[in-house]
């Protein structure tokens, strides 16, 4: 028993203490969180724009008069559909590699390129969450707003969007948690995220168990923290639900 403890202690010291290897994990976690945050902001911005185009096009399909503007709008709607299909139809790691090795081959900051790629990927999922939220509001709400004299944008702003936000916030938080875990493939493009940090330690110490379990536990802790936060948010939203 004492021998086993001694070996665990030796393993721990080898993987984390010696040569200050724990610093890899700290830097890695920092990069993972940075990647996630930047990707989240990019994703939400793209998601809002794409959802606005898609849902506006769908909602006005019945009432819009045929015109040049309508055709231009239709073109952008088609563009959004292509974006959604391509992004959701290909693996995120392939997208990140294409961004790093093809589109931004000359870029020096791999972290920002990866963050952009993750953001563009996440944007597609965010867009569909928001669009689903908008379309799930009963059309009668929309008609009530329009019948009072609100124009399309006013109806969205005063009536539809406030109800949508409440509906989609939990789903958006879940997308954020999924995104956090997805960034673990950033190591493919030489970004030293948390996963990569564990892998670097493993390659230095030739010992896989400790670094990989440590990485897994850190992800788990972060995800559990955010899940707890989502749960709290959901309870608060329900409390104000009349």
């Amino acid at each position: 028993m004492a021998e086993w403890f001694a070996s665990v202690k030796a393993e721990f010291e080898l993987n984390f203490i010696k040569a200050d290897r724990w610093e890899y994990l700290v830097t890695g976690l920092g990069n993972t969180l940075l990647l996630t945050l930047v990707a989240l902001i990019v994703g939400v911005l793209i998601g809002i724009v794409v959802a606005a185009v898609r849902s506006t096009y769908d909602k006005t399909a019945e009432t819009a008069r045929p015109s040049f503007g309508r055709r231009v709008f239709g073109f952008f709607n088609g563009l959004c559909k292509v974006y959604l299909t391509v992004v959701r139809g290909t693996p995120v790691v392939v997208q990140v590699m294409i961004f790093f090795y093809v589109i931004f081959a000359a870029a020096k900051d791999g972290t920002m390129v990866a963050a952009l790629a993750f953001g563009i990927n996440s944007g597609a999922y965010v867009a569909e969450i928001i669009r689903g939220g908008i379309m799930s509001i009963d059309n009668g709400q929309f008609e009530a707003g329009r019948s009072l004299g609100f124009n399309y944008l006013q109806t969205m702003r005063y009536i539809i969007v406030p109800q949508t936000i409440k509906n989609v916030l939990p789903s958006l938080m879940n997308e954020f948690i999924a995104l956090l875990k997805e960034t673990s493939v950033a190591g493919y493009v030489a970004v030293q995220d948390l996963t990569k940090a564990g892998d670097i330690i493993r390659s230095r110490t030739y010992s896989a168990f400790m670094p990989l379990i440590a990485v897994a536990l850190i992800y788990l802790a972060v995800v559990m923290f955010f899940t707890w936060l989502v749960g709290k948010l959901e309870r608060r939203l329900r409390a104000s639900d009349h």
């Binding site: 709400q141 008609e143 009530a144 329009r146 019948s147 009072l148 009536i159 109800q163 009349h242």
Partner: protein, 247 residues
């Protein structure tokens, strides 16, 4: 030619699904200032579509609708301004569930007419008192009964001081014991001289309150008359059949 018409409808056609469904097949109609026009007919006859075309919630396929002398089917017309003067009440109330009753009533006057919060609140409270719901100002819609919701929906539309009120089967989604309270509010409104277009299955209401009754079937106006004549002595076979089934 009627000169005091507030709404004139000429040759109105509405198709759905690229011509698969013909909801309206050439409707001509007038609504005169201060009158109550009740539209009746079997389901699928196009009466709701007709009503929803009046404020362009449905865009007509063909035809012309003139409201207060303006052709609102002209694509250059800003329909939002005209809709402010056409209140609408829906079958399913469509109150804003995330707002209090008071906020439901004051949102449009404040945002569209620039009314101050206090003035809008006072006006809303006066309207609520009129329908006996002043004590529910701070309630949320899901805390109200169906009849209460519909009375709120009516005063929400009235808060914009409309020239015309459009009612789309306002009592069809209500439990029977709540139909009366909503009809009472509508009758009071009619007595005050509000111009109203009412799509309904309430023949008692039509008989009592309507100045004119329009019978629609297959997307056309089959017959139009005073309630006494239309209910007492229907001219078309369609109307005779429809009315005989109701008795």
């Amino acid at each position: 030619m009627i000169t005091d018409a507030i709404i004139t409808v000429e040759g109105l056609y509405k198709e759905f699904g690229h011509g698969k469904v013909h909801a309206l097949n050439g409707v001509d109609a007038q609504v005169r200032k201060g009158e109550v026009l009740v539209v009746i007919g079997p389901s699928g006859s196009g009466k709701s579509t007709f009503l929803r075309c009046l404020n362009l919630l449905e865009l007509p396929t063909k035809g012309k609708i003139t409201f207060e002398g303006v052709d609102i089917t002209d694509s250059r017309v800003n329909i939002n301004i005209h809709r402010q003067k056409m209140g609408m009440v829906f079958q399913h109330f469509n109150l804003f569930p995330n707002m209090t009753v008071l906020k439901n009533l004051t949102l449009a006057p404040r945002k569209l007419k620039g009314m101050a919060q206090q003035a809008a609140d006072e006006k809303a409270m006066a309207l609520l008192a009129r329908v006996g719901l002043a004590d529910r100002a701070d309630a949320y819609p899901n805390q109200l009964s169906g009849g209460q919701k519909q009375r709120i929906a009516i005063v929400r539309a009235l808060a914009m001081d409309p020239e015309v009120m459009l009612f789309d089967e306002p009592t069809s989604a209500l439990d029977p014991e709540m139909v009366g309270e909503v009809l009472e509010v509508m009758k009071a409104l009619a007595r005050e001289g509000m111009t109203m277009v009412v799509v309904t299955h309430e023949m008692g209401f039509a008989r009592e309150v309507a100045d004119r009754v329009m019978f629609m079937d297959e997307g056309k106006v089959m017959e139009e008359n005073t309630p006494e004549n239309l209910f007492g002595n229907p001219q078309t076979q369609r109307a005779q059949e429809f009315l005989s089934k109701l008795l």
